[in-house]
Symmetry: C2
């Protein structure tokens, strides 16, 4: 009987544990989670803080008890794995005051990511909040509720989503982003400009191109200092990025990749025998470039967990083919989605690109209720291969447009392949020339 | 200077004319249309009859004058092409009482489709209405407005869409479909059952598996006779299917394919030199089976027109790769979309299939406003290749799900390829396990 120990109860870990159990009913499967929840959804945290989701406990899919009972998986919560010995095949866990050694035959490390905390003066002050685990929601809510003025530091996904939450809570806040655009890791400046316009229209005090260099205060933060000015605040949401939580993997002797995340092959094997890594802690292969990247997202974590868990009990039966970086966010009813490489990423990687940014409608011109969508499509100049796309518009359908494009991108489509794709039409769901098809045509520069 | 004559001002014809003009500014391009409108959208007719679209003239993208002026294309409306001589390269056109011979170097036949009128007794009676061209909207509206009881004969796309319109107009009506399900050409019975349930719930008198065998009346229809009964009605909407309008192509000497539509190669060339066909009049290649099919839909017509028009002036510069049969319709807020082969189609073609029909939500479980979607996925048993899918749900996002699947199907994806696709996620736009990914997993029968 094989014993599988999975460290981390989030998307990747829970998925790995469930998969191992499913494929090997005789295996002993143990899921160890530092917090109080498993199968939790950190992506839902802004909505729990904002109150759209009534309790952070709704962000769980299964309670630990349900998971134990329904899946026959032993679950340990509030339990930290403090050490690992990959030769002796044991982990050392700490729960409350006591430590225990737990043996394993296969170890899946799914320790996820943690907020990046920049080393700037005052960053250790109270009232500087990071967001990582749904567990923290009551704490965050408490701080935000009593604040008059908040600073959001970072204009990425969390920054944009929290901006909506704070506006809805009626808070005054300032959003600082060191780059000249919002969502710098996701979007090109032209598309990001559309998002920024909407944010300003809704009343966000956007400070783009303004790097925070210091926090000040006595015990509790009361001032944000940037290169350009000083701002009085009561609380700070620090959301400048995340880092893979590789401590345990390093202790296990696993090699880290060039991105700083755990190096894994397509079987989600680390460089240490019988040790797998999955989810935000692990490096991924980008299907457009073949390069190793670190794009920590929940759907990837789920699938990688599935692969790691499956392979832990049935050696190398599943392969993870990599990602194209499809991601979605929203600001109120403005949906923002992207896939593949941005134009600036592509340029940095040495691609010579062509792009088109078009404006189209979500329905036939004569149908009521259409929304405007902006579609940016990026292709390699020499081959016409689509490298990526970005879509923004006041319809959730934007997310699916990115998904259509994601499948095209991961399939190596050229602009022509996309143009001739058999995308559906009815007056109420799309124009007869679908926005993606129009973007392909425009990008073809007269060839289509 | 080449002279391109395009017959038919709908999607394919207008697209062909525009493309020829764009690629050859010196060409003489003439677009001949039997009706009074060009660039018209027959798919919008139900909404113009129902009043959501105020006037049928809104169903045009360009007026003939605009098209002439902006595109520098000569447009003749209310002009019928009554004959063609492919040796002498002339068409004979009739406008009002007079006939005229017009020479051409390249001819594009885009005469579209016409309603199928079954040879059953009484079918020639007044009050038996077919729907083909937006021109007819005032006429149809007039008839329907004064009717107390209407029969819709045919439960296809037009039947389903007109059912919504008639309900909204407060008409009593009966819908007859000879097959045991609605949308028999589009859906499998299990998925069609979900649509039928919704139609019944909304008050549609659905007569499935009930073939109409006779219409009765003195001059004007007043009775529909089926195999099962007789029904008093004032008007009949006859929507049992369409046929390619091949008369002109046949006169030109073009070969028809096995489907009865005009045989064309990937350049949209007919078997007659310098004669192209595009749109509903032409046969298509199905990208899943490689077989010739006749699936007349507007987005295909647009692209085929583009290819035909381009090739007419720049020999063989574009190829049309075929279709996978992606189509969308709706009944109120129930959206219905499909792509690829249905399970019954696949069986008929000799495929051994596996399928999964799952129920999922459009958002994360904790987000408000999620809708239920039903996803059916069909794969070839031996290879796992996805043959098609059908999606039904009360969200327009359903149409995009079919588009995602369409790209996967036309790319030859297996169930595993779909499962590992990098489809995006955020709580408000999808569950972390996207409905399509869940369907793939279920269809994998435990392999994923």
């Amino acid at each position: 009987m094989v014993r599988v120990v999975v460290v981390g109860g989030g998307a990747a870990g829970a998925s790995a544990a469930a998969r191992a159990r499913r494929l090997d009913p005789s295996a002993e499967v143990l899921l160890i989670e530092r917090g109080s929840m498993i199968t939790h959804a950190p992506c839902g945290m802004p909505y729990a803080i904002g109150g759209i989701v009534k309790s952070h406990e709704e962000l769980m899919t299964y309670t630990p008890e349900e998971f134990e009972k329904e899946r026959n998986i032993k679950v340990m919560i509030n339990t930290e794995v403090v050490d690992v010995d990959a030769d002796k095949k044991v982990v050392v866990v700490k729960k409350g005051g006591s430590e225990e050694k737990i043996p394993w035959d296969k170890l899946v490390i799914a320790t996820g990511a943690k907020p990046l905390v920049p080393r700037i003066p005052g960053v250790e002050l109270k009232g500087i909040l990071t967001m990582r685990h749904p567990d923290e929601v009551p704490h965050l809510k408490g701080h935000i509720d009593k604040a008059k003025t908040v600073a959001i530091v970072g204009g990425g996904y969390i920054g944009v989503e929290m901006a909506e939450v704070l506006l809805e809570l009626g808070k005054r806040f300032l959003l600082f982003e060191m780059f000249d655009q919002v969502l710098p890791a996701a979007l090109d400046p032209d598309v990001a400009g559309i998002v920024a316009e909407e944010m300003k229209t809704r009343g966000v005090e956007l400070h783009l191109g303004e790097k925070v260099v210091e926090f000040r205060g006595v015990e509790h933060v009361n001032k944000v200092v940037t290169e350009k000015g000083e701002y009085q605040v009561d609380e700070v949401i620090l959301a400048v990025g995340v880092r893979p939580d590789v401590d345990l993997a390093v202790r296990a002797g696993a090699k880290l990749g060039e991105t700083g995340a755990v190096y894994v092959n397509e079987y989600m094997e680390t460089t240490v025998p019988d040790v797998y890594a999955a989810g935000d802690v692990a490096e991924k292969v980008h299907r457009v470039t073949g390069r190793r990247v670190w794009i920590p997202l929940a759907p990837t974590a789920n699938k990688e967990g599935q692969v790691a868990g499956g392979n832990a009990v049935r050696n190398r039966i599943l392969k993870f083919p990599g990602v194209v970086g499809t991601a979605v966010t929203k600001f109120y009813n403005l949906y923002i989605a992207r896939t593949g490489l941005s134009e600036k990423d592509a340029a940095q990687l040495g691609f010579k690109t062509q792009s088109a940014l078009i404006k189209a409608r979500t329905k036939a011109h004569y149908m009521p209720g259409a929304e405007t969508v902006h579609v940016k499509l990026i292709a390699e100049e020499s081959t016409g291969r689509i490298l990526g796309g970005q879509i923004v518009g006041k319809s959730p359908v934007v997310a699916s447009y990115a998904d259509i494009l994601a499948v095209a991108v991961q399939s190596g489509y050229t602009v022509s392949d996309l143009f001739f794709s058999d995308i559906g039409y009815m007056p109420d769901t799309a124009p007869v020339w679908h926005p993606l098809i129009v973007a392909a045509r425009v990008l073809s520069r007269g060839k289509l």
